[in-house]
């Protein structure tokens, strides 16, 4: 059975590491990108099943990356969860307008993140 894949996009090494540790219990492959441009490139190449996308990033922000991904056939339907802070939450409407599927807030609440990931990927099989 092919393992599912999650693309983690954030310019913060702390957040990426945190997300990796929280998602370690899922039998999934984790791919990372550190800005919006990198995210679009990796999403097209890696075809992830889910994307966790920061909003404020260098080169291309999360909303713009989300818009680009929605214009590409292979990533048009990939669920994208935006990872936002409160200030960015005021732009949640803009986020949904750009095509994101859902959002979580920083600081990341592990239980909330796991619940959303389970919702989009299904309950993971026990990791041996």
């Amino acid at each position: 059975m092919t393992k599912k894949k999650i693309l983690l996009v954030d310019d913060s090494a702390t957040i990426l590491m945190m997300e990796k540790m929280v998602l370690a219990k899922f039998p999934v492959d984790l791919v990372t990108a550190s800005d919006g441009e990198d995210a679009v490139t990796k999403a097209v190449a890696e075809r992830p099943d889910l994307i966790l996308m920061d909003v404020v990033m260098p080169k291309m922000n999360g909303f713009e990356a989300c818009r680009r991904l929605r214009e590409i056939e292979s990533t048009r339907l990939t669920p994208i969860i935006m990872v936002t802070t409160r200030g960015e939450m005021e732009n949640v409407e803009a986020g949904f307008g750009s095509g994101c599927t859902d959002y979580v807030t920083k600081p990341i609440n592990a239980a909330e993140l796991l619940a959303k990931v389970r919702n989009y990927l299904g309950e993971p099989a026990a990791k041996r």
């Binding site: 702390t14 945190m18 540790m21 409160r86 600081p107 239980a111």
Partner: protein, 249 residues
């Protein structure tokens, strides 16, 4: 006369025969009825026995059903307990992950700017503050010097906070009371300590608006920052003073 007499005898004989026949019929019917009665009594005994057995079986089934209901309730309670334990473990695991990430980021470099960036990332991304300052104690009198800030107040202002004075005097982390009626200058003030000596301070002025209050994990992160950030900054200073030495691989 003799003719009448023989006629009378014949009649009596006939009546006797009919009577005998009638009695025989009644006796025969009586025998049949007795046999039917025996069968019915046997049936009754059998049915009574079957009814008793059926009642016993029903009682046993009812007891078994009650046992199963009881076991079901027990399994439900066990399941709820496991679910609750699993959620606790998941939360505990997430907390440990937070602490591990914070520790790893602080101690993974000897570059001062990288350590300061790590402190800032921990405060922003793991604690969730949008307004804070990090200060080091400088000079013989230990004046505060700002080294990292996100919309934070300058050192001179921070030095006048009663909370900061209390932390500098007592060396313990100060957290604003959640019941405070007056808005405080800071939400928390964390001393950076090395061998019991205060080498700096983290002053958190405000949390992200959607974060209602500091929780147990934040207190753990403060405790970790208090020692690990101070040690990490001290190590970078040592490293800067000894530039010729190579870090052992």
């Amino acid at each position: 006369m003799s003719g009448d007499s023989s006629q009378g005898t014949g009649y009596v004989e006939k009546v006797r025969e009919e009577m005998q026949s009638y009695v025989n019929t009644i006796l025969s019917d009586n025998e049949k009825l007795r046999q039917v009665l025996v069968v019915l009594q046997t049936d009754k005994l059998r049915l009574t026995e079957e009814l008793r057995a059926a009642r016993e079986q029903a009682a046993a089934h009812q007891a078994q059903e009650e046992q199963l209901h009881h076991r079901l309730r027990e399994i439900g309670a066990e399941s709820e307990s496991f679910r609750s334990q699993f959620a606790e473990l998941e939360a505990h695991s997430a907390n440990l992950a937070n602490l591990y990430v914070a520790s790893y980021q602080l101690n993974g470099t000897l570059d001062r700017q990288a350590v300061l960036a790590a402190i800032q990332e921990i405060i922003v991304n793991l604690i969730g503050s949008e307004k804070f300052g990090v200060f080091e104690c400088d000079g013989p009198r230990g004046e505060l010097r700002m080294v990292v800030s996100l919309s934070g107040a300058p050192a001179e202002t921070v030095a006048s906070y009663p909370a900061v004075a209390a932390v500098l005097a007592g060396g313990e982390t100060w957290i604003a009371s959640p019941d405070a009626t007056e808005p405080a200058d800071a939400v928390a003030c964390v001393p950076l300590k090395l061998d019991g000596r205060i080498t700096g301070l983290i002053v958190i002025h405000r949390l992200l608006a959607h974060k209602a209050a500091l929780d147990a994990l934040d207190h753990e992160l403060f405790s970790l920052l208090g020692t690990h950030a101070a040690t990490a900054l001290y190590c970078t200073a040592l490293h800067e003073r000894a530039p010729a030495r190579e870090v052992p691989s």
